[in-house]
Amino acid sequence: MQRLKNLKMTRRSMLLASAVTATSLAFSLPTAAADTIKIGLIASLSGPSAKSGEAITRGMTIAIDEINAAGGLLGKQVELIRRDDENNPGKGLVAARELVQKEEVAVLFGGLQTPVSLALVPYMNQIKVPFMGPWAAGTPITKNGAKENYMFRVSAYDSMVGVALVNRAISSHGAKNPGMMLINNPWGESNEKALSAAMADKGLTLAGIEKIEGSDIDVVPQLTRLKEAGADTIFMVANVGPSAQVMKSLERMNWDVPVVSHWGPAGGRFSELGGPRAKDVEMIQTFTFSGNDSPAAAEMMTKLKAKFPEIKGEADVTPAVGIANAYDGMHLAALAITNAGSTDGPAIRQGFYDIKEYKGLIKTYVNPFSPEEHDALGPDDLVFTQFIDGKIVPIK
């Protein structure tokens, strides 16, 4: 009996304790949530693409430090919360649910991988929280056909890159009959469509479309086919390794054809891998530190070095596009939140449309977003660059 009584006491005290805890939680949670404005990031923070997640983090961190130094947003400090998507759309979606529903982030940023961002499209549009893409270039991420679209982007995207590559081939090389060398995967497919559409617009004929496998030791047979079909320029879409094989094969064939490329070669040691012809590749970027005389770029470099001691110079901030896109994207998101006057998703979306002008790192954005246009960058904002001594330098 005595024991039972004790038990009762214990049970009662437990109930009491949980009631106290629950009450204190109920009071403390909203206060904690109201303390800061949270911004989420879902990107590759581990594995082979971890460098991209690091670049986005650096760009966002510098922007958030600036925003907080100027008093924060809506009177609150801004806080970055990151989750690793491990390059996996399923994991990305789980992380997005956690950040949106549990952490209540005001805006969610994404990473390098198009499949992960694409997997988030239906969820973000349904839960009505704005998404900002600072990297993944898949066209349908923002152009997704939803009635109420919450997907925004500050980056290059494939259909715009197609237009830029074709314009470059015509204006700099007088191209009339270009050929394509594309990596044999969905990225290559997406660019095949974009390039074909852009070429048709300009009335160019197509010398041929050739695919590159990651295991191709040389691509001389593919290039020989294009050469025999009279190709006068080559559009190249592939990452570092296969792009290097294309340049080595051109060197062996002694074929001096202009190569206009997507940004695939940018990450890694392309100068070393591609041999003597590597420097001939004309490659798009949204931003470079090298050869950039703008004061904003110099100031950004100083801030990066101060914040991240491991950054000593330009060689430590490749690819710079991730940093620059994320930096401008974060400032644009901050303006949208300020315009909205709250962290309500639909209000922030309207806030993006209401941005009039923002002087950013990549350019001065004037009315960057509208219900019809969720991409802040266009074909004219791309810079053509080449590799000089391992650095990505704008072509003069």
Binding site: P48, N184, G208, I209, E210, K211, I212, E213, G214, S215, I217, D218, V220, P221, Q222, T224, R225, E228, V240, G241, A244, Q245, K248, E251, R252, M253, N254, G267, G268, R269, E272, L273, G275
Partner: protein, 290 residues
């Protein structure tokens, strides 16, 4: 022009398949098992060669020897830990264990060597020479020769030397071989070491033309197994000829039909060939005595 450059590309590619397939062949003939991580063994050869020769800057002949020794050690470890425990129990677990071992090795290299592909400099692959009007690196001309010499050597050793005959005896009658004083464990472990050394040689040969990265062996390993089956895995000449043929078919398909068709035609050819020649090009049907 087109056909010549395609043949040169095809022979180079084919010799790679042939060397890896020889590795499948040798372990199969002594133990009826194979190392499914041959693609990773190839990668290991190139990565070790790069690390010793380029990163550490040791003389290249020494670097190559050490890289091949490293591959041999890897082969011994595969046999000891991924094949023997399963084969001894009569289980086919070695199938999955060797695949898993390759994945573990690929990822270990990914985290230690890094993700970025590297360039393997070689004086034999820096300046193209003119061969009947097409540019080729001297290394490209050497590679098919290495494949053929390796097949000839293996075939000779297995048929005409005491050690070779001992190796064949092991698979035919393991018990009898043991009673005759043949150290079967030693012979099988040796076969796995030779197998990974052949793959490492392929990796070192291809690295200057291609690049060095943790994932470089993946597709080669799969295709080499296909060519080993195509050639008849029990025949050294069969697997090398099948490798060369497969490389040629790939390169010629790319050259004349376009690269979109390469994989479709290549693998369809393997299915068709096996339909008409179930034991491969030079393989012999297994005789089961009841």
């Amino acid at each position: 022009m087109l056909i010549l450059s395609a043949i040169l590309t095809g022979l180079g590619l084919g010799a790679m398949y042939g060397l890896l397939a020889l590795g499948f062949h040798i372990t199969y003939v002594v133990s009826n098992t194979v190392n499914f991580s041959q693609g990773s063994s190839m990668m290991l050869g190139a990565v070790l060669g790069y690390t010793f020769g380029v990163t550490l800057g040791w003389p290249m002949p020494l670097a190559i020897l050490l890289a091949l020794a490293g591959c041999a050690v890897y082969g011994l470890a595969v046999e000891r830990f991924l094949v023997r425990p399963f084969a001894d129990r009569g289980s086919n677990g070695w199938l999955m264990a060797t695949v898993a071992g390759g994945i573990v090795l690929d990822n270990t290299v990914l985290f230690t060597f890094g993700k970025e592909p590297r360039n393997f400099p070689s004086p034999w692959a820096s300046e193209a020479v003119d061969v009947f009007g097409i540019g080729a690196y001297p290394l490209q001309l050497v590679i098919p020769g290495v494949g053929i010499v390796a097949a000839a050597l293996l075939s000779f050793v297995l048929r005409n030397t005491k050690h070779g005959k001992a190796m064949s005896a092991v698979v035919q009658r393991p018990e009898a071989a043991r009673l005759m004083g043949i150290n079967t464990r030693f012979v099988i472990a040796g076969a796995f070491a030779v197998s990974t050394v052949l793959a490492g040689t392929a990796g070192l040969l291809i690295a200057p033309l291609f690049n060095v990265s943790s994932s470089m062996g993946l597709v080669f390993g799969i295709k080499a197994f296909a060519t080993a089956i195509l050639g008849g895995i029990g025949s050294a000449w069969g697997v090398v000829i099948a490798g060369l043929l497969y490389g040629l078919v790939e390169a010629l398909t790319t050259a004349f039909l376009g690269s979109s068709y390469t994989q479709i035609i290549g693998f369809s050819m393997i299915i068709l060939a096996l339909f008409f020649l179930p034991n491969g090009l030079l393989g012999q049907a297994e005789i089961k005595k009841v």
